[in-house]
């Protein structure tokens, strides 16, 4: 509309001011979005603060020496942190040992070997795997992975054990590692592959000596995210690792154990019937805080590597 050009219309300086109503609407919309953004930040801050507050509360109730004990039995005032820490580390370690090679192999296959047609079939299958609820995998770990795999290889393994749970978590994070690594490898420019093939390198050499190193940041990120996911995983461990009432400190993966997450689940769902009793309840927040910082630092590290990959090309 060339309104300014018509005779009798307001001068240009007035037209350019625009409508006051629209400006006000813009401001309101802006305020709404700002509110939404602030709310999510506030909620996060609130959660972290309450975790910190309750954790301090917990530490004040018990002596620091109680953090090392025979095992993790909050009902009995035994708060051995090592038990949970070891439980988380062992299961996550097993999970990475399972998911690392399989996920990377899948990524290399999809990115370097598979015909487009095959990729179109395999990728959705991976996504289905990623969509399996972890409670189902926990159950699967308990009823299939343990008797069919773990106890076959080691008849001495318990009915609940860290190994079966760790493998279950591994299955859970295969798609994650595979797809993040594959993205990283496919982001490696074709020109680098051609340079390698042009020098007479074979496909496996090109994959391992050119594509893999060029994608190393993204692959590292995949592993960090995988570890973070493994440490945060709860259901599989709560179901298959055993030790729902507590666990003795021990390092054998074929014995039952408890992870940080499973301990929180056991406390929070009341399996332990401890609500209000002694220091058991606040220990929940203490564990939550530890878990929060663990996964936060892993995610930050993962972020750094993801960003580094992006910068390179």
């Amino acid at each position: 509309m060339a309104a300014a050009a018509q005779p009798g219309s307001p001068p240009l300086s007035v037209v350019l001011r625009g409508s006051a109503g629209r400006r006000r609407r813009e401001q309101i919309i802006r305020a709404i979005f700002f509110g939404a953004a602030s709310l999510s930040i506030l909620v996060s801050i609130f959660i972290v603060l309450s975790l910190i507050f309750e954790a301090i509360n917990f530490l004040a109730q018990i002596g620091l020496d109680q953090l090392v004990a025979l095992g993790w039995f909050p009902r009995r005032g035994l708060f051995d942190l090592r038990t949970l820490f070891v439980g988380s580390v062992i299961t996550t370690g097993i999970a990475i040992l399972v998911a690392g090679p399989i996920g990377l192999g899948t990524a290399i296959y999809l990115s370097e070997y598979a015909q487009p047609r095959v990729r179109r079939i395999v990728k959705p299958i991976l996504e289905i795997l990623a969509g399996i609820p972890s409670v189902v995998l926990g159950f699967f770990a308990l009823t299939w992975i343990n008797p069919q795999l773990v106890q076959r290889l080691n008849p001495g393994a318990e009915g609940f054990n860290l190994m079966a749970a760790g493998i279950g978590v591994g299955v859970l994070i295969i798609p994650l590692i595979a797809s993040v690594s594959e993205d990283a490898m496919r982001a490696v420019p074709r020109s680098l592959r051609e340079a390698s093939y042009g020098l007479g390198a074979r496909r496996i050499t090109t994959s391992l000596r050119v594509v893999f190193p060029a994608a190393i940041s993204g692959i590292t990120a995949a592993f960090i995210i995988g570890i973070s996911r493994g440490i945060g995983e709860t259901m599989v461990l709560a179901i298959a690792a055993g030790g729902s009432g507590g666990s003795i400190f021990q390092l054998n993966p074929f014995e039952p154990g408890q992870s940080i997450t499973a301990a929180i689940a056991a406390l929070a769902t009341g399996t332990d019937q401890v609500r209000g009793a002694s220091a058991a309840f606040p220990s929940l927040f203490f564990l939550g805080l530890i878990l929060f910082f663990l996964t936060l630092s892993l995610n930050l590290a993962g972020d750094v590597f993801v960003r580094r990959t992006r910068q390179r090309y």
Partner: protein
């Protein structure tokens, strides 16, 4: 100090031609006469003027690569139609022609680089020293080791300068002193003096022209016989372009070079022979004319060629 093994490796390209190859060339006299005929024995000074016609009595240069009625298909699309030409040994052959005329396709067919693109197909023959490169028992990996490639955009690996050059020799498990080989390759690529103090630095940190020379050094390090270059200077400034051209002249003593270029002056300056391609009505590229570069540029037989080299089309 070089061991006999290194000695062998370093000088393999200037060794007397394989008798079998000689035989192949002699066995088909006249039929597929090389496009350029001139004196060219190792050690003899190069003629001052490129592509000067020389008497027929001279020893014919041996064609290293010969295309015989080669057609190339991307799926059902024929991108190149029945291309036939010879590439004489230790000379520079330029492929020129308008965009889409199949220059890159032909180049990449010569070291089977196009195998990496799904559903591509070759008809006719691509012969390397008399062997059909698309024969049943030919391993493309072996082909690419002998027929190296330099790409349009410099593509050094994100590794150190040293590791870039050493990549090929390492992959092929070449014995001998890697340091010497890297130095020698960088020297031949006219890059040594600029990088000798920073071999550990990343190859991607070099300037464009340096990167391209690094890529040439990397290609040389596997001791290829033929080097394919697809518009090696198109991403470079005029000075770096001249450096690359100069380098090509130095390299032709040891290697046979096939270069694709869009730059007419470059083709005229830097090549011994020129193959002019055009795109037909079916969008397939075909050879319009080929011959010594001087003839193609000063006395073309075909009107299309004349129009193209004089910049009136394309």
């Amino acid at each position: 100090m070089t061991t006999p093994l290194e000695e062998n490796m370093i000088h393999s390209t200037v060794a007397p031609p394989d008798p079998a190859v000689e035989g192949a060339a002699v066995a088909a006299p006249g039929r597929d006469a090389p496009i350029a005929v001139k004196i060219h024995s190792d050690g003899a000074p190069k003629p001052e003027v490129k592509g000067t016609p020389t008497p027929q009595t001279d020893v014919a240069t041996v064609p290293v690569v010969r295309l015989r009625g080669m057609s190339f298909y991307y799926g059902s699309f024929r991108a190149v139609r029945e291309v036939t030409f010879d590439v004489p040994k230790n000379e520079i052959t330029a492929l020129i022609g308008p965009s889409g005329s199949g220059k890159s396709t032909i180049l990449r067919a010569i070291n089977r680089m196009n195998d990496l693109i799904p559903s591509t197909r070759v008809e006719g023959e691509v012969l390397y020293n008399g062997e059909d490169l698309y024969g049943d028992r030919v391993d493309p990996v072996e082909v690419r080791r002998r027929i190296g490639m330099v790409f349009q955009k410099p593509n050094p690996f994100p590794k150190s300068i040293f590791d870039n050059v050493a990549f090929g020799p390492r992959v092929h498990g070449l014995k001998g002193n890697l340091n010497d080989l890297v130095e020698q390759s960088l020297r031949r690529a006219a890059l040594w003096d600029e990088v000798k103090d920073k071999l550990k630095q990343s190859g991607t940190a070099l300037s464009g022209g340096q990167q391209q020379r690094l890529c040439i050094a990397r290609a040389i390090a596997v001791e290829p016989d033929v080097i394919l270059m697809d518009e090696p200077a198109s991403a470079l400034d005029p000075r770096a372009t001249l450096q690359i051209e100069e380098l090509m002249h130095e390299l032709e003593e040891r290697y046979t070079i096939i270069v694709v270029t869009h730059n007419m002056q470059q083709a005229a300056r830097a090549s011994d022979n020129t193959v002019f391609l055009n795109m037909g009505e079916d969008r397939a590229g075909y050879v319009v004319e080929m011959g010594p570069t001087t003839q193609i540029f000063t006395n073309p037989k075909n009107q299309l060629t004349e129009d193209y080299v004089s910049g009136r089309f394309g």
